[in-house]
Amino acid sequence: MADIDQEARKIIAKISQRDINEVTPDKLLFEDLCLDSLKGQELLSRLSQKYNIDIPDEKLAEIHTVNDVADLIKSYLK
């Protein structure tokens, strides 16, 4: 599960074009890391691709922090 936290941070860092060290678990995706709705959708697509799951775009409304993203993936892999 620790790998999932790290992988989520890695993907968020890539999409937000931030250094991975800036992408800490409590960071807000939209306010702190400047993601917009398009980047948010791309985040979900990349997570779906990486873990071979299907996360619908509606889930975007449920994730606010980096930690939420990791929790979302974990909920699909249970």
């Binding site: 890539k14 999409i15 400047c34 980047k39 697509s45």
Partner: protein, 394 residues
């Protein structure tokens, strides 16, 4: 928030910005859009226009438009399908297809409509559109209304495009799209690699030549010519509002695709036809592009001179390699201050602010033109130096 309350919120924001003296949008110009314009009762150096070759006021272009007004009037009074197709529209479409070495081409009333209509006509719910992260808003909007799944690859990163395409196997059709020259940054798409990666995954490639047509390539045939790939790109779209100094959009490609777009693109079917004087002006612009190659040479000489001098002063021009030049400020407040000083000192430029770009990417975006004289550019550089120092940028 209700509809009217939402509008009031925008209205208040605009009025507050105006009261601060920081509202530089919609500035009325009382002259032709040349190297110098009349604005607020004084002459200003135009540094915000994409009239790169200066053809909007070329005598041959104006004469062609005037002659068309005399022969055809100002409008056809109908869409292309109904009564809006003239011999001039067909002539321009043939000229475009020859220019891009494609089988056919279609013109639209605006560039935005062209891209919107083309994407909407080509893909749907079972397909996927893969966009460069910095693609123009028209491509994003077209992708959105098409109903196709939208994916994004990191800006100009073809390794990432490859990775994204690996995950798109479940879709029927795959359309990869990118600006040829990016409108906010002025850098050039890696077209050879993009085409190679797309082909590997069975995807179609469409590029938007808005800022590169008439600018890149020995004869102005954009990135396909620049990379030696004329006739090798599936679909080419673009606008006449830059190189031709006009308005209108187009898509060029295989005849079956163009006929399909011609009958299914809603922005084409339900729009009035481009006015013939515009079409005539664009045709004349193509003639000038061929007859006066020195304009292209001058454009690049001006671009090199301006970029080199600005860099010597310590300005950050981002990744630009073209006449579309951003002055990166990377701070919303300083960008506004800079824009204000430029305006006061006779430079017509425009600040690009959040949310159009991220807060750490704010900039002043400039357009260098073939019609700028060395005196224009030297004077502008002097004003930029003063503004840059006063705003604390250099």
């Amino acid at each position: 928030m209700g509809i009217i309350e939402n509008c009031e919120s925008t209205y208040k924001l605009v009025e507050a910005t105006k009261a601060e003296g920081d509202y530089f949008y919609h500035r009325p110009i009382y002259s032709a859009c040349e190297n110098r314009v009349i604005c607020e009762g004084r002459e200003m150096i135009m540094m915000a226009s994409n009239n790169y070759l200066g053809l909007a006021t070329h005598p041959k272009v104006k004469a062609a438009a005037e002659a068309a007004v005399k022969k055809y009037g100002t409008s056809t009074g109908g869409s292309r399908l109904i009564c809006g197709t003239t011999d001039m529209h067909l002539k321009l479409e043939k000229r475009l297809a020859d220019f891009w070495k494609t089988e056919d081409a279609i013109i639209f009333s605006t560039g935005y409509q062209g891209i919107l209509g083309t994407i909407h006509a080509l893909v749907g719910k079972k397909d996927v559109v893969i966009n460069d992260a910095l693609n123009h808003a028209s491509i994003i909007d077209g992708s959105t209304i098409s109903g196709a799944k939208m994916r994004t690859f990191m800006h100009n990163d073809m390794g990432d495009l490859d990775e994204v395409l690996y995950g798109c196997g479940k879709y029927d059709g795959k359309l990869v799209m990118a600006d040829s020259v990016f409108s906010m940054d002025g850098d050039v798409i890696n077209l050879p690699e993009m085409v190679k990666v797309a082909k590997k995954h069975g995807a179609i490639v469409m590029i938007d030549e808005a800022h590169s047509m008439g600018v890149l390539g020995k004869t102005g045939r954009g990135t396909p010519e620049h990379f030696g790939m004329l006739g090798q790109v599936d679909l080419i779209t673009g606008t006449f509002s830059k190189f031709a100094g006009a308005i209108g959009g187009f898509t060029a490609g295989p005849k079956e695709v163009i006929v399909h777009i011609r009958h299914t693109a809603r922005s084409y079917v339900f729009s009035a036809a481009p006015p013939v004087p515009q079409v005539a002006g664009i045709l004349a612009a193509f003639d000038v592009l061929e007859e006066e190659p020195e304009r292209l040479t001058k454009l690049w000489d001006n671009t090199k001179f301006f970029s080199d001098e600005m860099k010597k002063l310590g300005f950050d021009l981002g990744y630009s390699k073209t006449p579309c030049n951003p002055i990166m400020v990377r701070n919303q407040e300083k960008t506004l201050i800079m824009n204000h000083i430029l305006h006061e000192n006779g430079i017509f430029a425009i600040a690009i602010l959040f949310p159009a770009v991220p807060v750490n990417e704010t900039r002043i975006r400039l357009g260098i033109m073939a019609t700028h004289t060395r005196e224009d550019l030297e004077q502008a550089i002097g004003i930029f130096k003063k503004a840059g120092k006063e705003a604390g940028i250099i």
